[in-house]
Subunit: 314 residues, 2 copies
Amino acid sequence: MRHPRLAFATLAFTLAMHGAIAATPAKDPPKYKSAQEILDAAPPSAWRDLDPQNTLYLDLASGRVVIELAPQFAPKHVANIRALAHAHYFDGLAIIRSQDNFVVQWGDPDSGEKNEKPIAPAQAKLPAEFTALAKALNFHPLPDSDGYAKQVGFVDGFPAARDPSDGQAWLTHCYGVLGAGRGTEADSSNGSEIYVVTGQSPRQLDRNITTVGRVVQGIELLSVLPRGTGPLGFYEKPEQRVPIKAIRLAADVPESERVKLQLIRTDTPTWDAVVEARRNRRDEWYKRPAGHIDLCNVPIAARATPTPAATPAH
Amino acid sequence: MRHPRLAFATLAFTLAMHGAIAATPAKDPPKYKSAQEILDAAPPSAWRDLDPQNTLYLDLASGRVVIELAPQFAPKHVANIRALAHAHYFDGLAIIRSQDNFVVQWGDPDSGEKNEKPIAPAQAKLPAEFTALAKALNFHPLPDSDGYAKQVGFVDGFPAARDPSDGQAWLTHCYGVLGAGRGTEADSSNGSEIYVVTGQSPRQLDRNITTVGRVVQGIELLSVLPRGTGPLGFYEKPEQRVPIKAIRLAADVPESERVKLQLIRTDTPTWDAVVEARRNRRDEWYKRPAGHIDLCNVPIAARATPTPAATPAH
C-alpha cells in the first residue's frame, strides 16, 4: 500500500530501531543478532514472574497500568503503598497532573478539604528513602559511563546507580519510574501522591526524592494524557482530571484476574547480550553503531507469561 | 483547596522542578537564582527572533506546532522541506505513526499508491546530511560529559555534538528534534517523511540519519497523540491517522499571521547562567544538586516576542 522505496524505507527504518533486522552477513562470525532475536531465543530462566506482593494495578477507564514496586530501594514507602492499595485508598481519586516531557501525577484532589480521604491505616509520615545500602542489592553494572553517577546498572530489573564512595545505591529516574511526591522536607512523602516519569529522564531528581517502582506495562495509558494547562501541568478544572477506578496489589486480586507477565532478568548473560545488541547495532540500517548506551535508553523487556503448552522445550 | 502540608508539598515539589523557588539565603553571596529568574532578568539581547525562512508551521485541528529548521546542519534537506511547504505538499497528508517513548512521524499515507502525491518541484533524492563541518558552526560547548559524543553543546539554539577527531558536528536527537526518515540507504531521505522525537533521547540515531530542526512550540500537540497499535506505532486504520491541515514556511505566511516567538540565545553569559542554575539547583527543595546536566535535559526557553510597550527598559 506504499511506494516500494518508501514502504521499504519506513519498514527498514522502524524495524531497525527495534533491532529486528538481521545483519548483512559479516566476513566472520559471530553474526549480529538483534535484541529481539536474542530475547526470542532466551531460555525460560532468563525471565522471571512478577511477584504479586510487589505488583500494583492502576485501573483507569482506558485500561490497566501494571507497576512493579521496588521494596529493595524503599521498603517503608512500598509497605505504605501496599497498605493504601489494600485499604482501597486510591479508588475514586484521580490523576491531577500531566506535564509535558516530565511527569504524570496522581493523588487526592480533595487533599486539604473537609472531604479529604483519610490515609490511615497507612502511615502519614515516613522517613526519606532516597538511597539504599548498595551491598544489600543485586547490582548488575552497566559498563557505560554516566554523567549523573559514578556507576549505573540494574537491580532486579530496575535501572539503578551507585556511589562506591558512600556505599549507597538508588533507583534512577528513567522513563516509567515512579516516585513519591514530597514537600520541601525530605521526609514529607508517604506514597499517597505518586508521580510517573513520562519524559526525558529527569536524573537531577535522583537522590532527592524517594523512588518506589516502575511501570512495566501500560505506560502509554499515562503518557498520552492531555497536558494540564495550569502551572506545572496541573489540571485546572476538576472535569479534566482522570479518575482512578482502582489501585490494587496483585496479591489482593484473585489469581484468575491477575496479569500474567514476565520480565527479563537483568543479571544474566542473555541480558548482557541484549544490551550489547542495542549499544552497537550492526544491522543494515545503522551505519555507525553508537558504542554506548545510556542507562535510561535500555528497554527492559516484558512478555506475557508463556502457558505450559506454549513454552518451547529448551 | 488542599491539605496545607500536601498543598505546600505539591507546590514546592513542582515549583522546585522549575527552579522557581528562591534559595534559602546562603552565608555568602551570590544568592542562587533559578533559571526562570535569570531568564526574567535577561537583557533583550539574550533573545533572538525566529527567522521566517527557517520557521515552519505544522497546523493540526488541535493547533499549531512551531518548528525551527536547521539549515546549518542540513542545507539540502531544509531547502527541500521549504520547497515542499511552499508547494503545499504536506497539506492533507497525515501523521501516520506515534510510538510510545520514541517518535511521531508524518508523511504521505498513499505513498506507493496511484494517488501518491508528487514530490516535485522538490528533489526526490538528496545526499545524506548526517553531520556538518564543525568549524563552520557557532558551537557553544557544554562542559558536561556525554556518553555518545566527545563534546556536546549548542549551535544557534540547537542541541549538538562534535568530534574533534574528524571535525564533524551534528544536531543531536533530543526531545522535539526533527529528522528525515530514510530507508537502508544513507541517501534515501528527502524530507517528505519527517519524525519528531517524543521520548527519551534516542541518541543512537545520531550520525545515522539527517536531523533537520526542532519543535520550539506546541510539542504537546504531538506527544499526546494516541500510540499506534500497529508494529512500531504505525496507525493501523486510516481513520486513526491525524490529518495535517497545512505545513507552511513562516515566510510564506502574511506577517500578521505569524507566531511572534523569541528563543533564548545559547551563546551568551545569560545562557551559561541558565544552564548552571539547572545543573546545580540550590533552592529549598533540592537536597543534593546534581553537579551535571545532560545535553537533552537543558530546556531551551521560548517566549512571546515582547511588544515594544511591554519591553522593559534595560
